[in-house]
Each structure stands twice: as structure tokens, then as C-alpha cells.
Amino acid sequence: MLVNIDNLSKQYKEKRAVSNLSFNIREGSCIALLGPNGAGKTTTLQMLARLLTPDSGAIQFKGYAEKDYRPLIGFLPQHPSFFNWMTAKEFLTFAGKLSSIPKEQLHDRVQETLRFVSLEEAMNKRIGGFSGGMKQRLGLAQALLHKPKLLILDEPVSALDPKGRRDFLHLIEELKQDMTVLFSTHILHDAQQICDEVLILKDGCLKWKGSLPSLRKEFDLLPIKVQTEEPMKDIIEQFEIIEDYEYIDAKTVKVRLLEHVHHNELLQELINQKRSVTHFEIMQDSLEDAYMKVVRQ
């Protein structure tokens, strides 16, 4: 366990942004914080980054006695803003000195980080002239410069174009080998690609936490849709490999198979029963359905 978050609450003037939020962050995991706009994701992350003081609750890093745990975290805000008169290299050097990176290592570390986010060529240019994608990458560079234990990214890809988004997700994927990553997004697909755990927030409350496959399972989704020429009545009920089913009409059914059963076996069974399959689909958006169910709860 790396961090223990206990009963965090934050109230803005009239709105309760986060209420009684508790969760743990495992060391080495990659966690996505999901939720619709205004669910309290940014507030949560800013409290974790100590930029916002919670009204109540505690954040405790395991094995770190000091109250100010800022040396352990790297933070990328949703809209990072820099000192526009500095160059990328100057900014990272400045940030590295503030994080007490030893002088001998600082230069190499800055170079290495700039190379990682592919800003090497622009390192002596003023940040004021950077594009949004470059600023986002510089933001990531400053967050991981001092090799933090926990990397906190607030909507890292929502402002990027499709290519920038893919590149950025690749960077995060590489980073999660070395550090624990916590990032927020409102796009399920991003989370699906790179993380092993999700937290779903709604109106400041934690609605669900766990891995994505278990999310699909818990919400009783029937991810396979089968259509045959003949009615399937009484056949589906006999199949032992099926965990649950739902008829759409006599010839169409949505099913969920038992764990570890390959969907080919269902096809095989249907053919054995002399049914001609006209449609067989594994529904990709089933995760989206689960997410919507959680959010609507």
C-alpha cells in the first residue's frame, strides 16, 4: 500500500464537491479516476497534491512520517501554466532545484526527461510559444522530473488531438512501470487502455472501485448478442456454459458466458443444435453501459 485516503471531504460555498471519500492506492498500480464533469475529480486530485486543503479527512503515505509529503508526488494540473518567459530547459532546471535534485544529477535528469517527452528540440525555446500539446508534455516532464512515487495527472489527455492523445497515453503506459499513476478522465476508453483499476465518482461520492473486468461482471452485462434463423427457445436454457441470458425476441438473445468459457464454445453448441447463426457480436460498448449504470445509480 502506498497511500491511504481516509474520509476526505471538501465543501465549496454551496456545493459539496467531495464527501467522505476513502480509498487506498496500491504501490505500482495505475488507477483511473472516472466520472462525469463536476463529479469532484479535480478537487480530489488537488487535495492529494496539497494544493487544496480538505475540510476534513486524512491522506497518509505509508512509511512517511512527515506531514508534508510533497517530495513524493508529481502533479500535472488540468491546464498547466508556466512562466512563459522561461525556456523549457530553464523551467525544468528551476523545478528540479526546488525539488532538491542534487546538482550533479540535475543536468542529466533534465535532458533525460526532455528526451522522454520528445521536447529535446524545443528545449531552448520560450514556453510562451509552445503549442497546447507541447505544454502538456512539458507539464508531464515537470511532474516526473524528481522521480516521484505517485504521479497525479488531472485530465492529461482531454485537451489533446487524437495523435497527441495516443502518444501521451503511450508515455503514461511506459511510466507506470516505474511509478504509481493516478489520473482522472471522463473518457472510459482511455482508462480501459492503460489502467488496471478504476474509481468512479459521482457528485463527490465514490460510486464504485475495482478492476474493469469486475465492473463488467458486477453489472450483469450480457456482452454477447446472438441471432439465429430458427427460434432459440428452450435451447439457450439448456446450455451449461451460459451464466445469464436475456431474449430480445425469439430469434435474438443476449448472453453472458461462465468465466473461462471461450465464446467459440457457444457457437459450437449452437451448430450442434442445428441452428444457423446469422449474427454473432461481442459488444464493445458493454463497459460503457456498466459505467452509465454506475453513474445513473
Binding site: 488537488q46 497534491a49 496539497r50 494544493l51 487544496l52 486543503t53 508534508d68 510533497r70 517530495p71 508526488i73 502533479f75 494540473p77 491546464h79 498547466p80 501554466s81 508556466f82 512562466f83 518567459w85 528551476f94 523545478a95 532545484k97 526546488l98 525539488s99 532538491s100 507539464g139 515537470q142 524528481h146
Partner: protein, 258 residues
């Protein structure tokens, strides 16, 4: 200490890059030397303006060097103070508004280091401008009027530096409270004006007031001796400035969000 120096270095580089380190000394120098120059050329200026009736014979007594220098101090007191507050108003407000403060405060930086670096850098800028301007004014005064002893000039300069210290500390303190940079300058100037007003309205109770600094500096020029009241004013100004700085740090520590 290292972090403080890093932040200070950043502040000074910023002052150089955005040109403040160039224009502020220049503007202040112009304000300073305009005093001896206009005093010297006043008869000619009046001649050229030529609106005086022939019969009016006026004689303008030539001022002494000390009087010219105290005239320059009075320019610093008005336009100078306005400039000081304007130059200092957005050191914190701007970083809070555009959010660049978050990338600093997400690192292990404390409020003392942050505010300290701002105060020291701003003081360095304003004091450098004041010293350059005042020395240049002194040089022109010596050329055009009766010479003023350098020790006298220096003691009045040192005295006046405390006014700059006070203005910077007031403006930075207000800057920790208010986010709008123009409002920061407005509130600071209002506060400074209020102190000046109270000082002249209630001279008996306000002997310690920083508003007396210019009077004391003029006294140093004309009477050429340190009096006890000069020490009182210096002491109280230094203490008030320190208190304002501490208060600013306390306000920042109480921030719920940067």
C-alpha cells in the same frame, strides 16, 4: 535556503527578461533629474511661456542644493510611490491568476521562501532604481546649484530607503489578500495615503509614522543631523514592515487554494 535562492534567482531573471530592471530605473532617473533641471531653467521657461504682463517683475530666488534635493524627494513621494506600487502590484496576483503558482507550490516550497524571494527581489529593483536616480539628481544639483556634501546626500537617501521598504511590504501584503492586481495597487495606495493624511492631521500621535520619513529625510538635508525622531521613524517603519511580511506569510499559510 537553497530553495529561497532558486526562487530569488528566478525573480531577478524575470525582472531582467520583462524589462522592469531597465525601465523602472530610467523612469525614476527622469523624475529625479527633472527637479534640478526645471528649477534651474524656470526663469527661461517662464520667459518662453510669456504670458506674464510686462509690468510684473518677479524675482525667483535661486534655491540651494539642499532645497532642490528635497524637492526631488517630494517627487519620489508622489509619482515615485505610485510607480513603486504599480511595479509591485502583480508579483503575486499575476501568478495566482494565471495559475503558475501551482507548479511552484506543488513542490516542497514553503510560504516564507516564496514571499521572501518576492520581497527581496522587488526591494532590490526599487532600491537600485532609487539609488541610481538620487545619485544622478545629486550630481546635477551639484553642477547647477550650491554643492551638497555627499554624506548629507547619503544619509537622506538611507532614510528614504525605508519608505521604499514600507511601500513594498504594504503592496506585497495586500497582494497576498487580493487577487486582482489593479485592486492591489489601489488598496495599497489608499492605505499609504491614509497614513500620510493621519500623519499630517494628528502630528502629536503619529510621530512614529512612516509618513514622516520624507519630512525626516528633508530635515537631514537641511539641518544635517540625525535627531532622535529620525531613529523613532526608522525603528517603527522597520518593525511595521517586518510585521506586514509576517502577516503576509500567515495569510498564505491559511490559503485553501493557491
Amino acid at each position: 535556503m537553497n530553495r529561497f535562492l532558486t526562487l530569488l534567482n528566478k525573480e531577478i531573471t524575470e525582472l531582467m527578461r520583462n524589462g522592469k530592471l531597465i525601465w523602472l530605473p530610467i523612469v525614476l532617473m527622469i523624475i529625479g533629474i527633472s527637479q534640478p533641471l526645471t528649477s534651474y531653467y524656470m526663469p527661461q521657461i517662464l520667459d518662453i511661456a510669456g504670458n506674464l504682463p510686462e509690468v510684473a517683475s518677479i524675482t525667483i530666488p535661486t534655491p540651494t542644493g539642499e532645497e532642490v534635493l528635497s524637492g526631488a524627494l517630494s517627487q519620489y513621494g508622489t509619482i515615485g510611490t505610485l510607480l513603486f506600487a504599480l511595479a509591485t502590484m502583480n508579483v503575486i496576483a499575476q501568478e495566482r491568476q494565471n495559475g503558475s503558482i501551482t507548479l511552484v507550490m506543488v513542490r516542497p516550497v514553503n510560504e516564507w521562501q516564496y514571499l521572501g524571494s518576492k520581497t527581496v527581489a522587488q526591494l532590490a529593483l526599487l532600491l537600485l532604481s532609487l539609488i541610481l536616480s538620487y545619485c544622478l539628481t545629486w550630481y546635477y544639483t551639484n553642477l547647477l546649484f550650491t554643492p551638497v556634501d555627499w554624506q548629507v546626500m547619503l544619509s537622506s537617501l538611507v532614510m528614504y530607503c525605508f519608505w521604499v521598504l514600507f511601500v513594498v511590504c504594504v503592496t506585497i501584503f495586500v497582494g497576498t489578500i487580493i487577487r486582482q492586481s489593479s485592486a492591489v495597487a489601489g488598496v495599497s495606495l489608499l492605505f499609504l495615503a491614509l497614513i500620510g493624511l493621519l500623519t499630517s492631521l494628528l502630528p502629536k500621535f503619529m510621530e512614529w509614522s512612516p509618513g514622516n520619513i520624507r519630512g525626516e529625510a528633508t530635515k537631514l538635508l537641511v539641518e544635517q543631523q540625525w535627531t532622535e525622531s529620525a531613529w523613532t521613524v526608522i525603528g517603527s517603519t522597520a518593525t511595521l514592515s517586518l510585521l506586514l511580511f509576517i502577516a503576509g506569510v500567515m495569510v498564505m499559510k491559511k490559503y485553501k487554494r493557491y
